[in-house]
């Protein structure tokens, strides 16, 4: 005990200085986390506060395993993530390579490129809700005026079209994150290995494939890590555009969890879902981080 009190006395100043931040983290992060974790083992319903003490053990989790809606949303989220991330990578890479070629007006173009990131996701949701609307929407109007279709296309109603529409909005909003990070990679890239490869017999495509792309991989994986966390918790754009509907056709994990928690007021159950779906985010972060480390290993000294 005397050892402990001596340690406190010896480090009194540093301890006093970090105490406030530890306190803040405890109150703001750790307590709510523990509270929500606790409620996932109860039958807590928002409209009946006393159910907070209704301990039901693992029943929420057991029900989850058999909950078809949850697993469909889970799978759809993975699909959404795969489609969005891959297309954003492809478009972002293309955009970055093009912008990198431009010498005049590049700064302006870079700023313009970032515009989509400056809008609140809610507003992006509204924007595309009206773009894809079947009666007053821009796209339907254009298609009908051009005579390409006679009937309104139900972009936000049909199962696959709705999925396409929310993916489109997500990709529109976030491709520039990939583009900016990849462009940063292109700027940082040494020119010598490229020239060496050209002398070594590479065509432009081979230079890109064997030299440029491996160099860009760490930047791509950083973007992937950030975006996988982003997309795995996608909520705002989807909620505004389709609300997960119609009839749960575009339900993603977080629209489902939010509905369970606030519309159905089943907070305990929703928290159990949230903890299960966090595994998804953890998996993607771990996966991309490992890829990133692999890709960076050899580039470290350059």
């Amino acid at each position: 005990m005397s050892k402990f009190s001596r340690a406190i006395r010896d480090h009194a100043v540093p301890l006093a200085l970090i105490a406030p931040s530890i306190l803040v983290i405890l109150v703001v992060v750790l307590l709510p986390l523990m509270f929500s974790f606790y409620t996932s083992f109860t039958n807590y319903r928002l409209i009946r506060p006393d159910t907070l003490w209704d301990w039901i053990g693992l029943r929420n989790y057991q029900r989850l395993l058999a909950d078809w809606d949850f697993w469909v949303a889970f799978g759809r989220t993975i699909l959404f993530l795969t489609v969005a991330l891959n297309l954003e990578l492809l478009f972002g890479l293309g955009l970055a390579l093009l912008v990198n070629k431009i010498t005049w007006g590049q700064r302006t173009l870079r700023t313009i490129m970032m515009f989509p990131m400056m809008f609140s996701p809610i507003l992006v949701g509204f924007q595309f809700k009206y773009v894809f609307n079947d009666t007053i929407g821009l796209v339907n109007n254009a298609l009908q005026s051009l005579g390409l279709t006679e009937f309104a296309i139900p972009f936000l109603v049909d199962r696959w079209l709705a999925f396409f529409s929310i993916s489109f909005a997500e990709i529109w909003m976030s491709t520039s994150i990939f583009a900016i990070l990849i462009l940063a990679g292109l700027f940082a890239m040494p020119k010598d290995p490229i020239e060496a490869a050209r002398v070594d017999g590479c065509s432009n495509w081979q230079v890109f494939r064997h030299i440029t792309l491996p160099f860009l991989m760490p930047f791509i994986f950083i973007a992937m890590t950030i975006r996988s966390l982003d997309v795995a918790r996608a909520y705002d754009v989807v909620d505004v555009m389709t609300g997960g509907g119609p009839a749960q056709r575009t339900e993603l994990l977080w629209t489902l969890i939010a509905r369970t928690a606030y519309d159905d007021a089943r907070m305990g159950r929703a928290n159990a879902m949230a903890y299960a779906s966090i595994l998804l985010s953890i998996f993607f972060t771990w996966y991309f981080f490992r890829k990133l480390m692999d890709a960076r290993k050899h580039l470290g000294a350059f």
Partner: protein
């Protein structure tokens, strides 16, 4: 067979011309060094041969092919870069074999060629490492290995040793020389270091401000510099150059000292002509500390400012015609500051340059 022929090659960036119509013929298996101060256009010239820079005007031929519009990969050249330019994400053996892999060679062929190059350059133990795990000298060797696996028609070196420390540089210089003896190939080598140029080259090309000033063997350019620029650039210490004018077959300096003009120039120079008198430290030696050499000798009393002992010889610093000059003392003895020594100047090895055109007046 691959000779390289440059005919009136010009390089412009926008309206700025940096290389002004260069003509140069490099023979098969010849080791040619382009040397000059930074900004003289030597690297640009090399990069035009490589195809990394476009040629604004003129013609470059490798072998019988005009390569003006060929991309680098179709010129069958290889190049060693100043910063090594290794592929950071590949191991040493992948770096070495990369060009063969691109050329679609079989795995067996590639590993044989890689093993051979590793053997020549002593890289055997390093094949599985990545460039990040190598020292500067090792990276340099890998860069050279990468160049030789392809059996190119022409080797291009762009200041390959300037990132190494002095000791390693001397060592790699010897290795490059040996490499050339082992794998006879045409080499074009760019450097700003005249010692590298002198020691490596079959022929030296001295460049300045986008022009070729002189082309010749190392001894040629050392003994017969065409102008004061070459005289000052080649050789260490640099040639002593003192301004003066001609008076009755003598050069008269601003401090009143006078020296007879060298035998080659006797009677050829009009009185009053402004000239630069040039001689190397090697031909000015204190009496009793000379090398046994015959020839036309004149004596000169010099007050020594100070001496730099190098062991086997000393460099003496003195002043003549208002310029600091250097003399060489063989079998040195200690020299006091301010001591006056009578020195022998070997006149037939002295030069006279025109003061305004800076050209050597011997030719």
């Amino acid at each position: 067979m691959a000779e390289v022929k440059l005919t009136n090659v010009v390089k412009r960036y926008g309206s700025v011309e940096v290389v002004h119509g260069i003509d140069l013929e490099i023979a098969h298996n010849e080791f040619v060094v382009l040397v000059g101060p930074s900004g003289c256009g030597k690297s640009t010239t090399l990069r035009m041969i490589a195809g990394l820079e476009e040629i604004s005007d003129g013609e470059i031929k490798i072998g019988e092919t005009v390569v003006n519009n060929l991309p680098p990969r179709k010129r069958n050249i290889s190049m060693v870069f100043q910063n090594y330019a290794l592929y950071p994400h590949m191991t040493v053996s992948e770096n070495l074999g990369f060009s063969l892999k691109i050329a679609g060679k079989s795995g067996a062929e590639i590993s044989a060629a890689v093993a051979n190059a590793a053997e020549i350059l002593g890289l055997g133990d390093l094949l599985e490492r990545t460039p990040a795990e190598l020292s500067g000298g090792q990276r340099q060797r890998v860069a050279m290995g990468r160049a030789i696996v392809r059996h190119p028609d022409v080797f291009l070196f762009d200041e390959p040793l300037s990132n190494l420390d002095a000791k390693l540089r001397t060592q790699m210089r010897v290795e490059i020389k040996k490499l050339h003896q082992k794998i006879k190939t045409t080499i074009v080598y760019v450097t700003h270091d005249q010692v590298e140029a002198m020691t490596l080259a079959d022929r030296i090309v001295i460049m300045k401000d986008g022009h070729i000033v002189q082309v010749g063997t190392p001894l040629d350019v050392f003994e017969r510099p065409v102008d004061t620029f070459v005289a000052a650039f080649i050789g260490s210490p640099p040639m002593n150059l003192i301004n003066g004018h001609i008076e009755a077959d003598h050069v008269v300096f601003s401090d009143g000292n006078r020296l007879p003009v060298p035998p080659d120039f006797t009677g050829k120079l009009a009185d009053g002509r402004q000239v630069v008198f040039g001689f190397r430290a090697d031909v000015l030696m204190p009496k009793g500390h000379t090398l046994a050499e015959s020839g036309v000798v004149t004596d000169l009393d010099l007050k020594i400012d100070f001496a730099e002992p190098l062991g086997s010889e000393s460099i003496l610093l003195s002043t003549l015609g208002g310029k600091e000059i250097q003399a060489r003392m063989h079998n040195p003895r200690p020299v006091n500051e301010g001591e006056v020594l009578t020195c022998e100047l070997h006149l037939e090895k002295c030069h006279i340059f025109d003061a305004s055109s800076t050209k050597n007046l011997r030719e």
